[in-house]
Amino acid sequence: MSELSRRVGEVIESSTIEFTAQCYELYRSPPLGSLVKTACDSVDLYLPTPLGEVKTAGDVVEQYGIVYNVATTSIEPGRRPIARGKDEATEADIYRSSPQIEKLLRTEFNAIAVGHRQDGKVLYYLPANPPRIHSFVYQCVPEEVAEFSGSFAFLPMLMNARLAVPIEEVASAALRQMSRQAEDPARFLVSAGKELAALLGSDFGRLKAVLGRIQQ
């Protein structure tokens, strides 16, 4: 699988703790809980430099995020789509007879920052700078997911985030996906559960909510 084939979109909004990306294709967002990454150079090559100074490319910092929200809306905020399928037999027929729809809608997803990779090492804390706008966003390949989920050190960042979506849903979706790449999925989920139990020691209700969603 080449790098391009996993490219799913571009960053259109960015902050330290999360970023929003627009998908290149309608409805082709990575699923809830997937691990995505952006890649950008640590040195800002686009800004002008003082006279005589030569800019060399710095290290590439890859930022990891977990998809917590996916939304498909009209490209113009004030203009809502209208129902078109009254005379069509199937949903697919609507898109076929009005090909412009795909251009009038867009799919975006939000990802919460859970770590980054620098010098080839996965670091489970926030990078110095958020990704730049138009950074490409890739969906991580299974090997990378397995590598990233080799440690549960990202869980504190995830569980402590304040998001519009219930965090228990996001965390359990992420763990379910990661468990598929683990050697022993059942073992992986138990270990993850133990990590969560330590994290949510004082909040048995939340712990139960996550555990209920990840058990097989």
Partner: protein, 535 residues
């Protein structure tokens, strides 16, 4: 400590006096833990050695108990085990190993601090146990194995016999077997000789066993050259086909007023009666028993200030003693001298009582002989000190039913009370065997060097045995959980820390062979070599 054992968990809190709380890892099964087990705690600079004294369950959030996972929900239960719910061990730290160079040479030291937070706790490995309890050698005698381990727990017997010791336990918990094993150990490794007052005739020759073996061999059968059996009851010995070395007869003239005073309770003597005994002995000298019995109460001899009824009281008491068949008006044989000759030659003496298991006979004979042997020992030791010659062999006197001699009322009068208190000054110590330690004078109990106790379940007895021991509350729970057979808690002078042992087997052919093979000449102790090297 190259051998790594299974990690159990880590220290989370505690104190030196109250012990440490160890939180178990999720992977450690709490069901595999047991009180009395040993653990090593790896601190920053040194290792700590401790004993598990309690095991409990904990939760991080009370709500887990209020809404526990459904029985079918194995996943949640598995996740919670070791995280939300966890096991804790209560560990009593006892020794430190390693640390600075001084410690390395001197071996395990008593604990004076606790390990830091989160120090790793592991089950003690065989090597750790050997480091603490030593391997078998010329001085170390294998007494048993710790729970669930193969390591041999050894007692430093030359050290052991320097003080008086006690073996306690309820009836039927294996005191007699333990005593046999210990007597063999002393015979082989301590250079001390034993004098055993064998009330039930079970140490010298064959004794009975509750197990399948039926009969077990006595000391004389295993070590004929080193043990002499003497008997009070020739007939019984013959019936049991015991080859007794000689028969003990005691003359009336050997009985002293102190012996009678000790028997006050069993002979039903009044206070005034006991006073009278002293008067009578002063008046008549050595033949006082005979002469007192001959007095006609109506014709009191001159110079005696004894009331008629008191005299009758004394006469009744003496008549009881007189009925004992081993007492003769005048003994031609000097029993004490003969026993001492054996002891001087390094031969252990077992005195069988045969049919005279009556406590009166036991107290009378044990006290009478011990006092005179002790006097001789005292004289010899003093002479040896004066002449700078080697002192006599250390002597260990084994007595059963010790609370009869050493109860608070009589312990000050009996020779055993004196031996227990004055201890090793004159090279004589006691091995006390008793099932009712609470009946023994506290002062005597506190002087015992090493205590070996089998199961006790009476609260008073447990308190009496553990009085003055550090960590006694913790040891209490260990003592009360001992199995009713073949298990004993050893603590005191001869072991570096309290230890629960499964007593070494005694009674099978293999066990006899093993005893015979562990000859006294073993490899020299490293410590001794170092001493010789460096002077």
């Amino acid at each position: 400590m190259s051998e790594k054992t299974h990690r159990l968990g880590m220290v989370v809190s505690g104190s030196l006096t109250k012990g440490l709380e160890v939180r178990l890892d999720g992977a450690t099964s709490i069901e595999e833990m047991a009180v009395g087990r040993y653990v090593t705690i790896t601190g920053g600079k040194r290792s700590f050695f401790g004993m598990v004294t309690d095991i409990s369950l904990g939760v991080t959030d009370e709500r887990i108990i209020l809404s526990p996972p459904a029985p079918a929900d194995r996943f949640t239960a598995e996740v919670l085990s070791g995280t939300g719910t966890f096991g804790t061990l209560h560990v009593l730290p006892m020794l430190t190993i390693g640390g600075d160079t001084g410690d390395l040479i001197e071996g395990p030291q008593p604990v004076k601090t606790v390990p830091a937070h989160f120090a790793e706790v592991r089950l003690a490995s065989q090597q750790d146990m050997e480091l603490v309890f030593g391997g078998e050698d010329a001085n170390m005698f294998y007494i048993g194995t710790p729970l669930d381990m193969e390591t041999r727990i050894c007692l430093d017997l030359p050290e052991l016999v320097k003080r008086s010791n006690g073996i306690f336990g309820k009836s039927g918990t294996g005191k007699t077997f333990l005593t046999r094993v210990l007597l063999i150990g002393m015979l082989q490794k301590s250079k001390a000789v034993s004098l055993v007052f064998d009330m039930a005739s079970e140490y010298g020759w064959e004794g009975s066993s509750e197990s399948k073996h039926g009969k077990v061999k006595g000391l004389k059968q295993l070590f004929p050259a080193n043990v002499a059996v003497v008997t009070l009851d020739e007939e019984s010995s013959k019936r049991r086909k015991v080859s007794a070395d000689f028969v003990v007869k005691i003359g009336y003239d050997e009985i002293e007023p102190e012996d009678i005073a000790l028997l006050r309770q069993t002979l039903n003597l009044t206070d005034i009666g006991v006073e009278g005994v002293y008067q009578l002995s002063r008046k008549f000298g050595r033949t006082w028993v005979q002469k007192t019995l001959e007095i006609n109460p109506d014709e009191l001899p001159e110079g005696l200030n004894i009331h008629e009824s008191s005299l009758q009281n004394i006469q009744r008491g003496l008549a009881t003693i007189q009925r004992l068949p081993f007492l003769v008006p005048r003994s031609t044989d000097n029993v004490v001298q003969r026993i001492l000759e054996y002891l001087d030659r390094g031969i252990n003496v077992v005195l069988e009582f045969g049919r005279y298991t009556d406590i009166t006979a036991y107290i009378l004979v044990a006290n009478l002989l011990s006092r005179r042997i002790y006097d001789q020992y005292r004289a010899k030791t003093e002479k040896a000190i004066a002449e700078d010659s080697p002192p006599p062999h250390p002597l260990v006197i084994t007595i059963e039913e010790a609370h009869r001699f050493l109860n608070p009322a009589t312990s000050s009068q009996t020779i055993f009370g004196i031996i227990a208190r004055e201890m090793r000054k004159y090279n004589v110590t006691l091995l006390i065997i008793d099932q009712r330690p609470s009946g023994i004078d506290e002062e005597v109990m506190s002087q015992l060097g090493t205590k070996i106790t089998c199961l006790l379940d009476n609260e008073k007895d447990i308190d009496a045995v553990l009085a003055g021991v550090s960590g006694r509350n913790e040891l209490k729970s260990v003592l009360a959980k001992l199995e009713s057979k073949q298990q004993a808690l050893i603590f005191g002078h001869a072991v570096p820390m309290p230890v629960v042992v499964k007593t070494r087997e005694y009674g099978s052919a293999a066990s006899y062979n093993e005893f015979a093979s562990s000859s006294p000449a073993g490899p020299k102790k490293a410590g001794k070599d170092i001493e010789e090297l460096w002077g």
